[in-house]
Symmetry: D2
Subunit: 447 residues, 4 copies
């Protein structure tokens, strides 16, 4: 029997992205009958969470929706009986992200939130907390759907799928953004007649390592056209928080697919490293920039006259997060069978990867969750990179769960943007040491 | 640009099923703007085709649709500029089917239209004609969609996908029928609240060797419930033209999936053989029964007062053929993205089968054709049977195209309902000899 | 450190084949320093075992070897400290084999010791005993090598490899016989110059479902030549106990490989069934014939003047058993790295089968056991049959270990020489009922 | 019929390694009846070749062998009727190798003869010449065996196996060296009793990316013992030309296998890069050091009193090349069925790699060439690296054959020791430009 009133719980409610989410939920109030919204955060994020809760109350009041908001540090109360749980926390906060980036750069590697050594560190901090939340869900809301935005989303989703019984879907705004970019490009050339509903894009890969391999419009394949536009420099398809750039021709030409912007870390490694070094010596590393942007956003959110999502939020890079999350809740609740691009169990969708790993693939969303669309065989050079990175991810999840130092090194040594040698062990040990508050699984190494 | 007027061509229009198809097209006249309907048949079927054409005209007139009907033996004129081509011919006619059944029974094997030696013979008669039609389509309507009902549908579709450039989808009413049966079972237990639109069934396998592996309703998996009903004898899910029966428990219990009725030839081989022998000694083999039913149907169709599909047609077993075909045209034309169960290129949907073979799988239908939904790994005993039969099919297609006697024997020897030994070569040679008018590829063996 | 005195234990010493084994061991006395030979049998086989023990003593005495023979029913004493254990027992004796054959024929299926329903029944009787022996070996001689001749050798070996820690190798004289036949054929055409040591044959498949895919002589591939000879009727390569026959041409021509004689049950099913029916109505089923031959052999063995293997034993079909077993012991003991054709863990040797299943493949024999030679990809029709039968075997092993009725039916339904339908369950239930003394795992079904 | 006199042809006879080869051939004169030795080189190498020819004559004379030596630039005359062809040329000479190393270092990548950008460049120079030689062999000595030492041996062998009909085996002294090192380690601990003939090592991987996964001695697995020794710093198993070093523990501990020394480029990338930079700024890059060593060697070879291989040659790193090559010829000629570690067609030996690619695996050597031993499933982190590098190799071979710039970039971008970004295209274009005399396939890019 379909429920007529829904309880939604947001873990990590103090995120600056939360107003996007609230906006999306309110836009769908006719199809998604939420009557309880629980905002959860921890002591360290309490000030921000309080600001967000205030803004949320004002946004709800403005449109006159009937949703009860509860702000709490009591996660178990918030989870009890929930229908949807949105997970969007950052274990260790922005300070940890900044630290990850700085350690990586110190050892002459790319420093990044979800890639390389930084992605590894983030996974090791985050996965234990994510699994703890899922254990609570198994007891308090076993049938709820967990929508995971928490980064690194692919690895966190794989950890949950492999180690808990929770229905989890990993989300990311990257494919959604690429889809919107493709639509813009097509609209320009098709003019009035263009109907975005008729565009069907399909993606395959891993989180932050995904390719658009199809964009059908009225039965025609438009990827070759989009590739031509990209090669001509007419668009970049990268999110707002990533500076415009152009792909080396061969990356587009040979695969016939469009890589997501994060693939620049792999196809333009040296350029990205130099850019990061320059930034770190100038305005600060990415984490520091984000911190400053966040501070400004919270100044805005604090304004008692503000009762809607401020435009400035879009600069933060999270655009379409809300669209992805709210649309997913809506699709599950209403069994709408739309195609979305999510992180879910592979089930053979991408040939050459294990059945039980998490992949990012276009899936039909039903009331029982995503059903991946089959993916035609990928070009060898793309498949090999995906296989390599999936092994990195799977070994990282294993290391994060078991606290095994050798497995951590096996994972990192496979990652093409991580340097091997003495420097790797030094960088790993420093990471573990500096994160000792958040990486209990490696506590034996700090003694 | 979406067309506003469609030309539909029916090859083998003299089929007794055609009124089903016409009814389905007329029911969809608001979403499927057909303005030309070409009915094609050959000299041997001309009398029947003429009767069908008359009934078609009356059905169209009755509802006042604006569709021009053309009956012709000029296949090329009918194909020129077509948007959809429905292929539903029977190479060699019912006489050949009867002959197949009789030869098989003579050599103590199961005689059947699409299975065993009969299925092989049917493929060898049909594939050369199907490829000839596709060659004409490549020249005359290269972008048209071919909807293939022509049996053996799986092998014919594979031959077309491997040897031509035509957009082809193979169809069968078996999954549609099983879906309807599942809906009936669920309606009885769910009562008023049951909404058939909310039922999402999924199938995987080969044509006439397919399993329903999922039946979601409001996020719940109903296959275990249906299996319980089947084990309790509450339903059979078999089409009207197949007598009710009950599965051995182990077939349902161990796989957790529901086999289609044709799988009785494999799981109840001895029973089916004895039944066929009894029928052949009584009312005649299945082909003879069909022939008699058809004669009665054409008596009805001939009636100048009849302007709708007569109820009696449903007894013929073709129920839901029309639904499948018309719904598929509609879904392609309108990019409706519904899930249908079709024969299409595997593309990894079923793990353990080649990418390029034809499989029967639930697929999302778009304006660019079906996109298969990923299928979770099948139970070993099911996968092995499917792999075996796919090899039978692929080798049969190869033998049918190349006229290679050894390959024919390789194919047949793999088929579990075909007996091997001297008897196999005798049966095969008799089949080739008796079909010499329709199997030119084996002409060298008749010298 | 290499041992200088070896203890060899024979389980099922009362077998009529034992004199072959003894002869082989004595022939190798210079390279295989056996000083203890333990002959084990159970009460039911005691009379035969006593006769064998007497003959063994006389054979040893004749050549003046220094081997102490102990005949015992105390299996544990015999296993303690053993270096090699030869397992060649028949659970339930010849009476059970005769019963298997008769039940199968009663239900119109092929009745056979290692194939079809008979093979299944044999596995279910034998595997529990084989595992019990291995449990004792784990305690009493954990480093010993188990040479398994006990039929069905492939399934028994798989059960041991999957469920115990014992070093086990499955043996069969079929490939050895085929190799000898190939050598004879080549000797005839090559004359004096032919050196059997230079012939390198290679086999792949499963026990009693094996193909010779290569026969190299001086760098040349001779399989095409042998196939020509077989097609011309110049040889049959079948063991003495199997009547001469000729393969259908396509079986040889298309695969380019030479099937073992047991494959006649699959490629000439109808002929074999008719032959068996005729025999059963005449001289008796195969088990009965074997029983009569055995009785005659034991009359000979009893003769106190006999001190060597009598020629008549070769008619029994076991020729080269001794060669295989003794040569294997020799190769393991001396690390001789010769190529032998054995049942061992697949480890990827045959692509398309699981790593951990037992296969029959040509392997280099070392002091750490067999290392399979890689097998080139097999022709599709051959691989599919092997995959199917391996699933039959693996499911049979599972059913035999777990006593699961559904799994038993899943296994049998896959087997192409087993008929499905009501008749299958009747035949299985009768098998279980008649074997209730030997199939405790299915005891719950007899209540 | 086995030949009684053999013609051996050496392509690139001016190599400083040739005296090793000659020594090995002479040591085997009783089993390998060579009566013609053809030494081939090109104008650029003529002086060296002449010196080698002189030394060869003296070595032959000293032991009184009856071998006719012919030095020639006429490759076709040398190939006509040859039984064995040893290919050991360096396309572009040491100057090209030095250039490769310098370009790589200029663009901050590792510069190496067979790895990274240097390996790619070497392949692009060498493969066209190797294929040309094979075309001549197809005409002039189609049944001869090609023993390929020419680097990069794995890629050259793959190119030959895929694009010609020649029987080719790729050779490298790395596994042979590791086997000798293992023997030394075991001899120390086993003392007198150690018999090197009883040691059976097994390797799997690619050329210069190979692991020892087994070292059996008297039925015991010694790899864990060797790993302990390596972790304790007791040996390095690296060839003389590679400085001693110690593996990070995790590399040995987690895989349970022993990597070859070249894997330091992958597991200790940063250390190797720094070492190379230091060397380049000091004594010169590796190519320059080799050049100096070679000059000294040729001074020795020139000495008319020298009639044997001088000890100094071993410092050059080529130790055991001769053993590998001569032993392989011997094993093929005599069908000796010894195990050697060679580059050959995979045929499923390493699961997860294509059947038709070249791999470096332990194989039984017969008169029809190597038969790979099956390799148990490799640890995930090892398999992924091998798969990645095999794709690099396969795409490099394709780029080298087709002269496709995009494919070249696809290959290089996959290689973990190649940096991506603008710098990659700059480095590749400079490589192509500087090698324009040797890379005609890329001529279109230099216009």
């Amino acid at each position: 029997m379909k429920k007529t009133a829904l309880k939604v719980t947001v873990i990590g409610a103090g995120s600056s992205y939360t107003p996007e989410l609230i906006e999306g939920l309110l836009q769908r109030k006719n199809t998604l009958p939420i009557n309880e919204l629980w905002l959860v955060d921890i002591e360290e994020g309490w000030e921000k969470a309080t600001i967000i809760a205030g803004l949320t109350e004002r946004m709800i009041a403005k449109i006159g929706a009937n949703i009860k908001v509860t702000l709490t540090q009591n996660r178990q109360a918030a989870l009890a009986g929930a229908d949807f749980v949105c997970s969007q926390f950052r274990a260790g906060g922005l300070e940890s992200r900044i630290r990850d980036e700085q350690i990586s750069l110190k050892y002459k590697m790319i420093g990044q939130e979800t890639n390389g050594l930084g992605g590894f560190a983030n996974a090791c901090r985050t996965i234990p907390v994510a699994l703890e939340i899922c254990r609570e869900m198994e007891a308090l809301c076993p049938d709820a759907w967990l929508l995971n935005f928490t980064n690194p989303s692919g690895m966190v989703t794989e950890a949950i799928l492999k180690h808990t019984k929770i229905n989890a879907v990993g989300l990311c705004n990257v494919p959604a953004h690429m889809e919107k970019s493709a639509a813009s490009l097509l609209r320009e050339t098709q003019g009035e007649a263009f109907d975005e509903q008729k565009l069907l894009t399909r993606f395959a890969g891993l989180n932050h390592m995904v390719w658009m391999y199809s964009a059908q419009l009225n039965g025609e394949e438009k990827v070759p056209f989009i590739i031509k536009q990209l090669m001509a420099g007419n668009d970049t398809m990268s999110p707002r928080n990533i500076p415009a750039f152009q792909w080396p021709d061969y990356v587009l030409r040979n695969s016939g697919m469009i890589p997501c912007a994060y693939l620049r870390y792999y196809y333009m490694t040296q350029n990205m490293y130099e850019l990061e070094m320059k930034e770190a010596q100038g305005e600060g590393c990415r984490g520091e920039v984000v911190k400053a942007v966040e501070a400004q956003l919270f100044e805005l959110y604090r304004d008692p006259n503000l009762a809607e999502k401020p435009k400035q939020l879009e600069l933060r890079g999270g655009q379409y997060y809300s669209e992805a999350a709210c649309e997913l809740m809506n699709a599950i609740y209403n069994d709408s069978r739309v195609v979305m691009h999510v992180n879910t169990r592979n089930y053979g969708a991408i040939q050459g990867l294990p059945d039980d790993c998490a992949v990012e693939v276009s899936s039909m969303i039903t009331s029982a969750g995503p059903i991946p669309l089959s993916v035609p065989a990928l070009p060898e050079q793309v498949l090999r990179l995906i296989q390599l990175m999936k092994s990195f991810e799977t070994l990282t999840v294993k290391a994060a769960v078991e606290g095994n130092y050798d497995t951590a090194l096996d994972a990192l040594a496979l990652n093409p943007i991580v340097t091997t040698g003495d420097v790797l062990e030094q960088a790993l040990l420093e990471t573990i040491q500096q994160n000792r508050a958040f990486m209990q699984q490696f506590a034996h190494l700090n003694q």
